[in-house]
């Protein structure tokens, strides 16, 4: 399981926690226990899931993207995601629009 999959899972968990909190908040509306322990606990869990997601996003592309935006180039350490149809893990992605570099040619031997 790589970082990308973990990030997607963290995103899914965050959505689930948001949904659970919305359910608790809205269905308890009008009662005296609007700020009960369930709601407080879910608020903390949502906040925690957001923090985890931010950390995972930072580690799985966020730093690289910022580096790329700031410096114009980035040192690629994380593999590209094969699911996107890009290059395989560990390989540099293919630039569809980049011109092909000419093959290195040895200098001709001196006569």
């Amino acid at each position: 399981m790589n970082g990308f999959v973990l990030t997607w899972i963290a995103f899914g968990v965050m959505l689930a926690l948001f949904a659970a909190r919305a359910w608790v908040v809205e269905t308890n509306r009008g009662r005296l226990t609007t700020a009960g322990s369930a709601q407080r606990g879910l608020t903390a869990a949502v906040a925690g899931s957001v923090v985890v997601l931010v950390v995972l996003l930072t580690l799985n592309g966020g730093l690289t993207l910022v580096d790329l935006l700031v410096n114009g180039e980035a040192e690629l350490t994380a593999p590209a995601d094969a699911a996107t149809g890009g290059a395989g893990p560990g390989e540099a992605p293919v630039d569809p629009a980049a011109p092909v570099d000419p093959a290195p040619v040895d200098p001709p031997p001196a006569p």
Partner: protein
Amino acid sequence: MTSETRRTGEPDPSARSRGAGAEATVAASARSAEASPSERTQYLRAPGPDSPTTAVRGPVPRPAGDGPPPPPPPAPGPSEPLSPLWVWGAPVLAILAVLMLPLAAATTDLSDMDGWGLAAVLSPFGWVAVVLAVACCVVELWSPRPRIPMLGAATAVLILCTTGMPSVVQPQARFTTAWLISGFVDAVAGNGVPPTGVDARFYWPAFFAQWAWFRDAAGADQLDVILRWYPPAVVAVWAIGVYALARSMLGGTRAPWVAAWLFVGLNWIEQDYFSPQATAIVLLLTVLTFALGPLATRRVDNAGTTPWPRPHRGATPLPRWRRWLISAMTPPNAPTLPARQLLLIYFCASLCLIALAPTHQLTPFAIIGQLVVLAIVGRFRGRGLVLVATFAVIVFVLISARDFWLTQITMITGASGDAGAIEAGFFERLQGDQGQLAVKLLRAIMPGLTWLLAIAGAWVYWKRRRDLVPIALAGIPMAMAVVQSYGGELLFRVILYGLPILTILSVDALRAFARVDRRREYALAAGMVLLFPLLILIRGGNDAYLDVTTEDVQMTRQAYAEAAPGSTVQPLSTVGPYAVEGVGEHNNMASGGDGCAILAADPFRCIDLVQPDTLLFYQSIEKQGTVLNEEPEGWTLAIREQLIASGQYRATYENGFNAILVRNEPAPLPGAPAPAPAPGAEEVPAP
């Protein structure tokens, strides 16, 4: 509290009994002052979720003097019969407008189109259909009791006769990019995986995957009919969204319909072709309608006065400590909807926001910006939706579109040679013959007039509701202009994202204008008659070279069918349905380096450089050169003949300006076997 008192429930009986004795005399004297029904306290029942909107009539202004107040004008009774004009007028006009359409299609000669586009060749029956459709809308709107189904039908007829006019009179979808997107769908339909290294749009593949799935599920192998009728269908859906938004923002029974019609009339931008952004706008409008409709709330100062904006001139705000105290002791605003309905709306809105992320590049940022504005000013419940949308976009871009930003970061940051959005969207397109220049200037004038009208509407809205949020919502998408490298299309998207709110504000201005003197409604009706033909002129202005014929489509499919595996198929210029098939297989979109993305830019050098195996010529390419680029007539024929004469290419199909040229194999070496002729290749004599 205004002069109009609103309460819920019945009058308090205890208050009535308390006041029975001592206040009887006072009440008797007050009754004479409140004799007018319009000035009596009106007791309203609390509305249920499905209750219709209840209008409370305002008090009639009392003239100076001590005389009794005049009675209010009687409201039209429901049993009062309507004139046959109001009953049958709109349906008859709608039917006549629709009947004109086949006649218009049969009598419009599309081969004569020049720089003025469709408007110059549209049959008089087409113009009559437009006028009848407008008349249908106006008649029903002026009816004493406008019928919602009839207004809906009138709107549909109006869209069909204006936005849908090209779909009616032209046998195929008319937009090159629509055919390109259809080719993308075709590429995804093959194995369900978007091809790589072809086009950056494949990194946002949701729309292509959606239609590939629809296509496969329907057992179809092409989407030609969908492409043709997509613009009027999707504009009808957008108009529903604008109507729903206008109901929330304007109220009333007629103004929301006018907002929908004005939106249709001002939508010259043509982003409604078969494309991801057309679907994305549907999702955007859905979320915006939720936020400004059932989820709408208002952050009010519970102390009764707000520090800014002040409720009226000279109003003094309460001390800050007192406002805070009252605010802290007051329970929060309770939404009016039941919890389950609210949760369902949260779910649907979240679904739309998440679906936007893989569908389109720009639209998520537009809706996130608008939701952020609404959240900051406390206008909707469910601010978690902002987080859901933001993280959906970030996760998708960082992970699924990783290869895009790793390799094409300049599309975000902009390359040094890129033109700005305004330069690319307007100045670079300001070329062509007289008709082209006129149409393009009209395209520049229309957004300016729209914004002027909307600013007037924002002023009216401000005076009426002390609210500047709508104009901020319309302005937020303009921040996207910082993405300079997106190209000229960005300018169109920015205008389109703000257009629903702009039209609603404009209608507020027009409503205030008409209320001053009801005779001004005639001027507005005349303006509507002028606006919609203008829409046909502006939208169809490029039809000389955007028109696609059935022959173009068949010829292209034949070319791809005859192309050898791995060979390249390219058009002389990027108009026509050249990419309806073969995207990624025969047409990789990225082969034109060294200024040769469009072969016609420098035809012989570029053809020598790129060496496409199959060259496509369309009549639209010929028209593009003569109308837009000041080429002499027959310039594509001259190129074609020279290529054939040079022995580089041979024609496998020729009919007028349409042709397929196939690259000749190099001469075989002595002793090598001769290559077999291509199967199905058919030599057609030149015209």
